[in-house]
Subunit: 478 residues, 2 copies
Amino acid sequence: MAENEQSKESLQQSLQQVINLLNKHRLVEELVHKQDMPKHSLVELLVHKQNLAELQKKLDELHPADVAYILEALPIEERLQVWDLVKAERDGEILLEVSDAVRQTLIADMDSDELLAAAEQLDTDEIADLAPDLPQDVLQELLVTLDFQNRQRLQSAMSYPEYSVGALMDFDIVTIREDITLEVVLRYLRRIGKLPDHTDKLFVVDRESRLRGVLPLKRLVVNDPEASVEEVMADDAVVFHPEEEASDASQAFERYDLVTAPVVDDNNKLVGRLTVDAVMDFIREESESEVLSLAGLREEEDIFASVWKSLQNRWTWLAINLITAFIASRVIGLFEGSIEKIVALAALMPIVAGIGGNSGNQTTTMIVRGLALGQISTHNMKNLFMKEIGVGLLNGLVWGSVLGLAAFALYHNAALGLVMTGAMTLNLLLAAVMGVGIPLVMTRLGRDPAVGSSVMITAVTDSGGFFIFLGLATLFLI
Amino acid sequence: MAENEQSKESLQQSLQQVINLLNKHRLVEELVHKQDMPKHSLVELLVHKQNLAELQKKLDELHPADVAYILEALPIEERLQVWDLVKAERDGEILLEVSDAVRQTLIADMDSDELLAAAEQLDTDEIADLAPDLPQDVLQELLVTLDFQNRQRLQSAMSYPEYSVGALMDFDIVTIREDITLEVVLRYLRRIGKLPDHTDKLFVVDRESRLRGVLPLKRLVVNDPEASVEEVMADDAVVFHPEEEASDASQAFERYDLVTAPVVDDNNKLVGRLTVDAVMDFIREESESEVLSLAGLREEEDIFASVWKSLQNRWTWLAINLITAFIASRVIGLFEGSIEKIVALAALMPIVAGIGGNSGNQTTTMIVRGLALGQISTHNMKNLFMKEIGVGLLNGLVWGSVLGLAAFALYHNAALGLVMTGAMTLNLLLAAVMGVGIPLVMTRLGRDPAVGSSVMITAVTDSGGFFIFLGLATLFLI
């Protein structure tokens, strides 16, 4: 048993070993330099080689996903040192495992021949995953080396949009006919000798490759060998189409607890299969990109990316926020006369804006989630608005009163306290209405409500909060 | 083929059908009321029954997960109407599928006998999932009805912390001995007749139930029936322990593309198995709770929860934010004298604070992610700080200059522009240092950096931003 091979601790131990070996190696090099020894003295060569050999051995023992982990956790220079030590025939599978950002740093370090060699060890659907990062000339050469069927598959896989079923599917399908017995199926499988990863079912097709049903291995092994495939197969399998959205398919995988599922075209012809590992990777990516986009990062970032790369990843959103912050600042500018007269307004106004933003984001997060799960539609929209308005009103009255009292206590001005309470309540109502409304409108316009809703709601509650508070103050206090 | 059964559109169609039937039903009732017909007139009864029968038929046809979806998408009153129509023997499996918040509303509607009947249809590990929501007396009665082995299993499953492997595992394991041939295994399986869901491998154990290896069905069907289990089985399977953290296990499932894996105790005795569907549900829950906690929601919310329930879910975080906003407000209060002299400060200060918060959140999000993946440890901390300080410095100089120019253009005060640039740069440096530091310190203290880091970084950059900007202004402009 590979006891604990998988735990985070043992992974970090492996990482530490690699780092130690790298450090030893560097130390030797530095020593040699300092003492001005002839660069290729025997001693140096020996120690040097011994370290590298040990490191290489360590890397060879690790699962590709674990090598990927180590590469991601190393700063660029050391990462490339380790990458050079990885056996060429493992390059492909490791490139598939690393994150997009790290993959780019590794590919930038390889020449065309190395890339070609790495890609040639992969399946067609895997090459398609790698393709966007490959230089154009490598891709062209690669197409030439493939046979007709695989070239067609690669081209079609690359033609599907990134988050479609077609982009996730693979071609490792084992098909059988329905008119044979299970005994014959078993003999056929023994002849094949090895089944693709994640094979939990065989696909039953007719002469024209049209899907007739699926034969789960579970059924194959428990049923009478004399029974025919037709009698034993399931004909109500969940099927997907290549142009469907991957997020719908992933929800179906979760809902129906699937391991693999057939992908068919409009004529019910089997074109590939979807596996749970691809779906799980997709779910992870999807949820990560949601968290990243909430923080205003365009994409996953290599933690050791150059400052310049990081700036590119983060500038778009900072620029947008700069604009919204500037607008809010101009709203305050409108009321400079009032602030001059009652300077306490300047100290109190960020509270109104800030709490409005928080409350609005709570609402929006819930609505975005409900939309993603398809729980929200026209029939229940009214309920939602009413509920959120209720929550906003109560929050506004409760917290607004607390702050109103605090303002009164600080500035001994009862009217100021009342304005505070009123402004909080109104801004929380605004937050409730916009918190429900913005994601709904974005969906209606065909946009992903998870991206940008948070920025927009904050912009509205900031400028709105300043305007409401300073406006009320100007009306009633000046 | 159940063509498109799984798509979001068809789910929403089912939902719409249910709503239409409910509405029809209500309309008939209202009509009867209005015309003051005798309550049990024949006509009413007939139409009434017909509608309900149609609705019931529709529900019977749906997968439990799809019924769960419909229940979640309905406001409370209609939800309970539909729930009453669901066949009693399906109650258990549907309760497992709905979200925690919705499950509570359904369970509140059931009496002890109904709950007991529902729970009795479930497997032990499924009862354990339901247990936290069951009333104490139902749970006690349930324990009495179980046989010794299952009672022990339930008690041990309930004893594991919520996010451990033990809490996720199930007991649907098929075990075999290593000294028999594949032929004998196949005969044994045919005698069993049906394998548990997700069975992709059989577990090979010795007389003391110690795990010796695993026999994937894939290998069972392709190898010579005369071969022994020992020859064919894999003895390097990834194994888990019940007390391991579920999030480590889920990373291992992703990394090694597992479908099922054995769970063993410290003596290597097989105690259960982990399946990919449980892991996938866990990943979804984990990522959702991250997004929810970023928005300051304690837990998943039933979108039709009462206003009161929603307030409970949201108050903790609003209260914390109120406190941090109040502190920031007091920081401004320190400088009221300066603001009175240069009122432009009031309009400009939220920009400095806001952009600092955004930038700090970008940094923190990246660090939290790196920590979760185990990519960050002592050896690369210095690199991280240096990089983030570099990013902060550049952002500060660039955006600070833009805003400095804007301030100069608006207020024709060059010194004010310079103060703006300086404050932006310093606050972004603060955001960088705290953005890296806060999650690292939280981890060091044994806390989850994903919860609360965002609130803390915003608090620091708000108060810090106001202090730096108003402080510099007071020093150089007043």
